[in-house]
Amino acid sequence: MAPIQFPHMVFLYGIPDIAKNHQVRKKYTIQLGENELVLKELDLLKEDANVYKLIGPVLVKQDLAEANANVRKRIEYISAELKRLDAALQDLEEKQNSKKEAILKVQPRIQSLQAGKAKD
């Protein structure tokens, strides 16, 4: 009988989720950085400068104040998302740990059983 793969597979449970979490987090982090840059530049612009937003193929003229507000809101949204993701990540890690422990406990028993079986 093949040595137990079972524990390892169970252990792997949760890893894909964690990886996905990481990816999404990375994306959000990059976006957050970009938005902060935009905010900085907007602050440096003169009051009457024209600001346009690219929505699809359309360049729409926007008010500087409006643009500022929009960017700020977006930043807040992204930060909130990041925090949510962090919490989810924590959860996933905890689950993974508990699974690991369970496996460790079960493994020796399984092995002894296997040995017993092999003897027969």
Partner: protein, 385 residues
Amino acid sequence: MEGKQGVKGTVTALSSLYPTEEAQKAAKRVQDTIAEKQQELERLHGFISDNTNLINLVQRLPDNLHHDIMVPFGKAAFFPGRLVHTNEFLVLLGEGYYAETTSKKAAEILKRRGKALETQVDSLNAMMQDLKAEASFFHTTAFEAAEGIVEIREDYEDETSVKSESEPGLLKQVSSSFSEADNKRVAVEDKEFARIMSRMDELEKEELEADGNDESDEDEPSKADMDSIAEKLSNQEIRNAERPESRKPLEQAKNKNVATEEIRNAQHHAHQDIADQLNCTGLTVQSIPKGGISNDYTLASDVKKPAEKTVMPPKAENKVRAFTSPQSEVPLETPKPNFDSKLAFTGSIVEHADNIETSSRKQTPSQSSGSQPSKPVSRFKMHRR
């Protein structure tokens, strides 16, 4: 290293600490990460160069009212056209936001972006450095583990207990650089201990005998010699030093002594390590000044045996002999000034020659017997006081 009696040690095979395979795997992993970071770095460099090109273009465009250009049309066509409004730029700020600005302002925005890129590059470089260090470490451990190198640990013996033993070692070591001397000393001290002790005993006896004739070797002692000798007698000298000190007032060259003392102290710093080794106070180890400054060759002075004191001729000052003749003593015979203001050369001359070795050797056995006709005469005898 003999003399390290009863040193406990452990021998661990490096391969057990860092299993070969794992070390290699780790090294490989680090290499991969390094490769990734390298790619990132190149990307960033590309960005930076693009940025600079753009800045140049933006700055050149307003030079003309309009430019004649070939305008791209679709995916595979161009048509001749004109670039007008050459000072108006729509700069992408990010996240779909554009700002209409002049060429100057656009250039500024781009420059700021360039700076941000550069900080990114710097941080990436720093990470690369760390990774590289890690990689090299893994490489070497993997290599060593594969070779079967073992790690040997030995308990560290108490410094103080071996200090006294260090002196014997000093003689030997002195010739080498001081730093080496230190190491060697430790290494050799046990070895030399017995020998030195006996020599010291002899020297002491001889000093007592050679009272008054203590003619320090004229030869310029080499630094090493002085040191060695000084160190050898350090223990005793310390004690003896006390006495010469008391006698100083009696000496004619009292001031000299003081000067020498000071010099010694100064030198002492130079040879701090030796001094420390010897547990000597500042007085004892003055060993020859590095620059051969010593008026005090006497530095041995501290060392000197009190017994000598009376006799020590000024020569003793010059030399390592000093140890035989206490500094303070020196003045006794002839107030050879340690500082001869008349002479341009006020320092002691350090002669590094064979004779020094011999003289030092001789000194040890004969302690301070001043007259040592066999002693090679210093070339600089004139300058000696």
